[in-house]
Every structure is written in C-alpha cells, then in structure tokens.
C-alpha cells in the first residue's frame, strides 16, 4: 500500500510517499536534489523526502555558537579596551595635549616678555625724544633771545642816531630862526627909525618880531 504524507517545510510542500513493509521504497530523491547538501552526506544517497535536506539556519533565531563566540570576543575586547588599550592611548593623547598646551603657554609667555621689552624700549625711545625736543626748544629759545637782544640794540642805536639828528636839526633850525629874528628886528628897527626918525626900543622890536614869527609859524 502506498501512503502519501504531505508536509510543509521551509522548502515548500513536500510529499513523502512511503510503502508498507515488504514493498520497495518509491522515493526518487537523493541528497543531490537538495538546495544544500548536508555535510558529510553522499549526494547520490537516497533520501525519503526533501525534509531530510539541510534547511540552513533560521534567519531569526540566534544560534548558540555564534552567540557565545561573538559574546566572548566582545567581552574580551571590551575588557582589554577598558583596562589596557584605551587608558594607554588616552594617557599619551593627554600628554601630547598637555605638552601642546604647555608650548602654547610658553609661547604666550615669550610673547608677553617680548612685548614688555618692546614697551621698555619704547619708553626709553620716547624719553630720548623728549630730551632732544627740550634741547631743541632751549636752543631755539636762546637763539630767539639773542636775536631779539640784537634787534633791540640795533633799534636803540637807530633811535639814538635819529634823536641826535633831530636835535641837531632842531638846533640848526633854532639858530636860523634866531638869525632871521635878529635880521628882521634890525630891518624893522631901521624901517621904524627911517619912518619916525627916532630909534625904537630894541626890546619892543625884537618882542614884536618874535610874536609875529611865532604866530606865522603857527599859522
């Protein structure tokens, strides 16, 4: 008697035809018909159904061997990292960062020192400049003073000369005036003598001449 057993496996529906005792098996499958030939099996070996094939691992279920190999590897790696690899790397990184920071600080210090020196130099420079300026000012003041003194002297000389000349001129003027006055008085006295026959008083004539000359000069 022939019995058909239909099973549903991962490779689709499978039919297992089995014969009763005494009858020859009717299966035509061999391992070569499987999509994956199970390990250690002869491909030409006959199998009852495709259900005997290696279905491969389930895509969802975790496999124990992968779980413990992976877990062991990770745990060892994480411990190594925690206690050995990372602290070493971190230490040398920190050391380098510290040295870089130290170098930065040194550079800053050197720069501030240089800046202080520059400040000192600039202070000295400005001091020297101020001194030079004061000296120049002093020299200029002396020069100015001398020049004004010479100018004053020259002015004084000129004005005294001018005064002398003016006095001389005034004296000459006065002398001429006196001469003119006496001449005019003589003329006037002679004229009066001729007109009246009598010599006038010399004092009165000269006073009259003097008065008319003064009024004429002022007129």
């Amino acid at each position: 008697m022939l019995t058909a057993v239909v099973t549903y496996g991962s490779n689709g529906p499978e039919v297992l035809l089995s014969a009763s005792e005494g009858e020859e098996g009717l299966s035509e499958y061999t391992y070569a018909d499987c999509s994956i030939i199970p390990e250690g099996k002869d491909p030409s070996e006959k199998i009852e159904s495709l259900g005997k094939c290696d279905p491969g691992p389930s895509p969802i279920m975790p496999e124990a061997k992968e779980l413990y190999w992976g877990a062991g590897a990770f745990i060892l790696f994480a411990l190594l990292m925690r206690f050995f690899l990372y602290p070493r790397l971190r230490r040398s990184m920190d050391a380098r960062y510290d040295s870089i920071r130290g170098a930065h600080a040194e550079a800053d210090q050197a720069r501030s020192e240089a800046e202080a020196e520059v400040a000192v130099y600039e202070a000295a420079l400005s001091e020297v400049k101020a001194e030079a300026a004061s000296r120049i000012d002093a020299a200029r003041a002396t020069l100015e003073q001398e020049r004004s003194a010479q100018l004053a002297e020259a002015n004084a000389r000129i004005s005294s000369a001018r005064d002398a000349a003016a006095a001389e001129a005034a004296a000459a003027h006065e002398a001429i005036r006196g001469d003119i006055g006496s001449a005019a008085a003589t003329v006037a006295a002679r004229t009066v003598e001729l007109a009246t026959g009598r010599a006038p008083d010399a004092g009165a004539v000269s006073a009259a001449v003097e008065g008319s000359m003064t009024s004429g000069a002022t007129r």
Binding site: P57, A73, L85
Partner: protein
C-alpha cells in the same frame, strides 16, 4: 521570460562549520575583536608626542569621534568615563558590519540574530544597572512613574513606560541592527543573482541588460559602506542615550 530562482533566506545565511561550533560568523566576530585590539595596540605603541599619523591617527580620530559626537551631546562631561565601553561597542559593531561588503567574505556578522541580541542585552543590563546604581530604587519610580503626570493617568502611563523602557528598548536595538544588515545582505544577493542570471542565462540578447543590476550592485555596495557606519553609530549613540538617561533622571 527567464526564471530567476531566488534561494531561500536560510540558504544565503548558511555557512559550514570550520570546526565544530565555529562558523564564518564566529570567525568574523572574533576577527573584528582581534583587528580592533591590534589597531588600538599599535596606536598605543606609536610615539604619541608628535603629530599622530597612520594607525594612531585613525585610533585618535575614532576616540575623538566617540567623545565629541556621541558622549558629549548625550551625557555631557560626566559621561566621559563611558568612552572605553562605547568605543569598543562602536569599533566592534563597525568591524562586524563591514565584512558584508568586503569581497570574498560578503557576510556581516550582525546580519545574524546572535550578536545584536547579545549586544543589546548587554546595553540593557548596563543601563538598568547604571540606573539602580545612581538612583537606587528611585530609578524604578522615576522611570515607571514620571513626575508631572496627573494621578489617574498613571494607569495608562506606567504600563506604557514599562514596555517602552524595559521591553521595547532592547528589542528595537536588536532588530534595528540585525534587520538593517540582513536587508542589505539580501539586497546585495538579489542584485548579484540578477546580474549573474542575465549575463550567464544563455540568452545573448539579455547580456547587455545585465549591466543595469551590476551598476545597482556597485551602488548598493557603496550604500552599505554608509549603512555599516551609520548602524554602528546609531547603536552606540542609543546606548549612550539610554545610559545617560538612567544616570540622570529627567526633571
């Protein structure tokens, strides 16, 4: 037109054991830990007093990335003590993701459930432990009965908070990493198979068309580089957020 037989998902994840109970995924995860250790070992041995270069530069860049991009925005200065843990989490996940696009290997170790499950359970245990350590039993009170909620609403809020904090967090961490990497793996397989079928399918007219899925394959490989980094980053930053949140209750 042509028949493309896509293998069942089981088949593209199946790797024969190298020796009993040690398969390709186990190799990748062990190698990831070894490579990361070697990188940081070389970096630690290198002369640290000069400007870093080569491996040391890489290691320092990773450390500063973790500190400035992950720890500082989520935990602040107090969280800097968590840097080694987050650093190993990030480098391990990244090095487990990246084999998904390395030719010949072509299998992200995180596309299997085991690793993401273990890592997110570890993060779960760590953040709950940190919560109890920093707040004692007040941690349960703060996380299950958030302050500032009117009394009767606790009937609604408490179960939601319990589910979202203690159940959904590890579940979503696991599923996010696992499903992203598995989806990327399946995409790469799909386009590789499509290219192969078109080029070697026997129909001469279809051979030039095969260039299209091939370009898609190249593009997706480049995309997977980004995804590998992004998933490692997101897993790590979420771990940091959870740990930081447990250490300092929200006010």
């Amino acid at each position: 037109m042509f028949a493309l037989e896509f293998p069942p998902i089981n088949e593209i994840l199946r790797w024969s054991d190298v020796f009993p109970s040690f398969n390709k995924v186990a190799i990748i995860s062990v190698l990831a830990a070894v490579i990361a250790s070697v990188i940081f070992l070389i970096a630690g041995n290198a002369d640290g007093s000069k400007a870093p270069k080569g491996v040391r530069n890489l290691a320092e860049a990773i450390v500063e990335f973790i500190e400035n991009q992950i720890v500082m925005p989520t935990m602040g200065r107090d969280g800097l003590g968590w840097t080694p843990f987050l650093l190993s989490l990030f480098s391990f996940i990244y090095l487990c993701n990246v084999p998904g696009i390395i030719p010949v290997i072509q299998m992200p170790a995180t596309a299997r459930m085991a690793l993401p499950l273990f890592l997110s359970l570890l993060v779960w245990v760590v953040f709950i432990g940190v919560g109890f350590k920093h707040q004692g039993l007040g941690y349960l009170k703060n996380s299950l009965f958030p302050p500032g909620v009117p009394g009767p609403l606790y009937i609604l809020v408490t179960p939601i908070e319990f589910i979202s904090t203690f159940l959904v967090r590890p579940f979503s961490l696991t599923v996010r990493l696992f499903a992203n990497m598995l989806a990327g793996h399946i995409l790469l397989v799909t386009f590789a198979l499509l290219t192969k079928e078109l080029v070697q399918g026997g129909n001469i007219a279809l051979v030039p068309v095969g260039i299209l899925p091939f370009f898609m394959l190249v593009f997706l490989t480049a995309f997977e580089v980004l995804v590998a980094f992004l998933q490692a980053y997101i897993f790590t930053i979420l771990a940091a957020v959870y740990i930081g949140g447990a250490a300092h209750p929200e006010h």
